[in-house]
């Protein structure tokens, strides 16, 4: 058993010279899934930041012509000959069984896809909100249409909406996470540093918040938001609501860390040399368990993504015309979507991937957080 397992691997000097953070990085790189997740998340966030460039359509555009159109396949060969990437034109038809409107490819008409196309189809936007620009990553020439993920019930390109929705769905959780961490750190360190009645009060508070089922409490709080708010205000308040409920986990971690570190010699030394409480906490205590906080931060984000998506999905969070993944999924809760418009479930894949990637990333970080093990 474990007793006889040879644990000491041969290590060169660099291992013993490496700092704690270097060791963590080395250990993290060994976690393949976490590395892959990190790459995926970087791709997601980059696309979200340059969303207006990547998305062929802006948030406010729609074409009543192409309502509930399925994904348009991208072809490379026309009648056996190389054409480069192109789509066929679309023509309206009727399903022979259900008599519903459907779109079929018009194989007579070829519309090539232009990359870095400047055009009025996609509409203008500002790069990073500053420089006006009109170039889009790809566009079909003429009156051709590229709907990579199909269109929704208003004729909006679903791919564009997924990309633009990512701007909200991926950034609300980050802002919320920052608030959560600030709150959790504050409460946790107050409880852990002072102990006694302060600790008791904060413990009760944590218990109260944790006694509510998350999502129903989120629902109740966001339902109380007045319906007249602007999307930006709803965005702000939603972030605050999400973080108001998710801080207790971090606070508990911080508190228990405080209790275990408080009795260490170096804290005693700092106190004897007359360092004020704030300096002891900020300079000496928090850095010593920073890695745990980072892990907790990473694991908070997926739960906030789920929170935002769920609330918007239930019609209690962001509402159209604001676009987030949850708003996109509102359409999936209809029977006809499940029966006839399967492509409208595509945004789910992105919610799923983002949440899973953050979970794996957090898992990898947790392993790396203790590099001496």
């Amino acid at each position: 058993m474990a007793l006889f397992k040879k644990k000491n691997k041969e290590r060169d000097d660099s291992y013993y010279y490496a700092s704690q953070w270097q060791l963590m990085y080395q250990k993290f790189r060994k976690h393949k899934l976490a590395m892959a997740s990190a790459v995926l998340l970087i791709v997601f966030y980059t696309i979200a930041i340059f969303g207006n460039f990547v998305a062929p359509q802006g948030t406010e555009q729609f074409s009543g012509e192409y309502v509930n159109c399925g994904p348009t396949p991208i072809h490379f060969f026309h009648e056996g000959e190389w054409e480069g990437p192109f789509v066929y034109g679309l023509k309206r038809d009727r399903d022979p069984v259900t008599y519903m409107n459907i779109f079929v490819e018009d194989t007579e008409k070829i519309c090539h896809i232009d990359f870095f196309a400047e055009g009025d189809k996609g509409g203008e936007y500002k790069i990073l909100g500053l420089i006006p620009c009109n170039i889009h990553l790809f566009q079909a020439e003429g009156d051709g249409q590229v709907f990579l993920f199909g269109t929704d019930g208003m004729g909006r390109d679903l791919f564009s909406r997924v990309v633009l929705g990512a701007q909200i769905s991926l950034f609300i959780p980050v802002v919320g996470m920052i608030l959560t961490v600030a709150l959790g750190l504050l409460m946790g360190s107050l409880a852990g540093y002072f102990g006694g009645w302060v600790d008791n009060v904060i413990q009760r508070l944590i218990e109260v918040v944790r006694s509510f089922p998350n999502v129903p409490l989120w629902m109740a709080l966001s339902a109380a938001l007045p319906a007249t708010l602007k999307p930006a205000q709803v965005f702000m308040l939603m972030t605050i609501i999400l973080s108001l409920i998710s801080w207790p986990n971090l606070a508990r971690t911080v508190r228990s860390q405080f209790f275990s570190i408080k009795k260490e010699d170096f804290i005693m030394a700092a106190r004897i040399s007359g360092a004020p409480a704030s300096a002891i906490v900020l300079r000496h205590m928090i850095p010593s368990f920073l890695s745990y906080i980072i892990v907790n931060m990473t694991l908070t984000i997926p739960s906030l993504i789920v929170g935002e998506t769920t609330l918007s999905f239930l019609g209690l969070g962001l509402r159209s015309p604001a676009t987030s993944w949850g708003v996109l999924l509102q359409e999936t809760n209809k029977l006809e979507t499940i029966m006839f418009y399967g492509w409208k479930l595509i945004p789910m894949i992105f919610v799923f991937l983002a949440v899973l990637a953050f979970n794996f990333l957090g898992d990898g970080l947790r392993d790396a957080a203790d590099p001496y093990k």
Binding site: L205, E207, N214, A220, L221, L314, G315, L316, L335, I338
Partner: protein
């Protein structure tokens, strides 16, 4: 029952009552959160529907809920009505007292939650033990993967995905608790089978997240126990591996699982609420959603209150259970 245990229970009970008191405050705060008091909204809505509300009724409602008085007085009226008269207020959405709404829906909701809870524990504990005993086997990797996915996918997505799969496979989305036409039929074998069929997706969805996290806890605890010295000592004395595993390790590993009953309830309530909305089940979750969309805060708030109380009760029970299972827990707690 010894004195130690009684002291432990009493102290836990005292904290529980304090927590419930604080929770009631939070809930009442949420109820009063929407701008404008609910009476004004109610009168507005009645006027929209073309019905005038008599001034006497307004005055009576105002007095009953203490609307012109400060927050604390209003709170006192609300809580004393609940405690002394079992009156949770009035639902303007359904035009009936909240208490009767809750009475109508609480039984199906509780049955669904309980069945799911049993299902959760019945599945996750054996799988956790299996994964720990066969660490790094194919089965362990399989369950670990399922566990991660189950914890990562939001409940409502899982509901929709299962509906989609069920539609593709059988041509039926399994919405509601009964097939159309079955709802009002007399109880028969066919109806029972129909109900069972429709319960599969809800139970899977509600239980999945909880099952996965319990599975992970059980696996971790079991691995810890298996590596301890007493296992080796027992092996050295000639006890069979199986006997050690089930007689000692599983018992010790169960403690943290038992102490998680309260938090499992939180997960399950969240699950039931969302699944009820997505799958259109006749349970409190759907009613709460409708109430919230309409800012009918008395109805929604009361249900939130009940869920929180049940969670606190669950935590209390699991604390007692843990103290009974593991004497170390209660002595540590009493020492401070």
């Amino acid at each position: 029952m010894n004195k130690n245990f009684l002291m432990f229970a009493l102290r836990k009970l005292a904290t529980m009552i304090l927590t419930v008191f604080l929770i009631s405050f939070v809930v009442f705060f949420i109820i009063t959160l929407p701008p404008g008091d609910f009476l004004t909204n109610y009168i507005g809505r009645m006027a929209e529907a073309g019905e005038a509300v008599s001034p006497e009724l307004i005055a009576e409602l105002k007095a009953h809920y203490g609307l012109d008085q400060p927050f604390v007085v209003q709170y006192w009226k609300w809580i004393s009505n609940i405690v002394f008269h079992g009156d949770f207020g009035y639902s303007f959405l359904l035009s009936m007292p909240v208490t009767s709404v809750i009475k109508a829906y609480i039984v199906p909701t509780m049955v669904l939650s309980l069945v799911t809870m049993i299902f959760t524990y019945a599945i996750s504990i054996p799988i956790g033990i299996y994964s720990a005993v066969h660490q790094y086997s194919v089965g362990d990797y399989l369950f670990t993967t399922i566990g991660f996915i189950g914890m990562a996918v939001p409940n409502f997505l899982m509901g929709i995905i299962l509906m989609f799969i069920s539609f593709k496979l059988t041509g039926n989305t399994m919405l509601g608790l009964y097939s159309p036409g079955m709802e009002n039929a007399a109880w028969s074998m066919a109806k029972f089978i129909d109900l069972m069929k429709h319960s599969v997706i809800p139970i899977l969805v509600i239980g999945l997240m909880n099952t996965c996290s319990l599975m992970r806890t059980m696996r971790g605890q079991m691995l810890d126990e298996l590596g301890k010295n007493y296992v080796m000592a027992a092996r050295a004395k000639g006890l069979k591996a199986k006997a050690i595993r089930y007689k000692y390790c599983v018992r010790a590993a169960m403690n943290p699982v038992a102490s998680s009953i309260g938090w499992s309830l939180v997960n399950i309530f969240t699950g039931t609420t969302i699944v009820a909305i997505v799958l259109n089940l006749p349970s409190m979750g759907r009613v709460m959603h409708e109430a919230l969309l309409d800012q009918d805060m008395y109805l929604a708030g009361s249900w939130l209150f009940l869920m929180a109380i049940m969670t606190v009760l669950g935590t209390f029970i699991s604390d007692l259970l843990l103290a009974w299972l593991d004497p170390r827990a209660r002595s540590e707690y009493l020492k401070g």
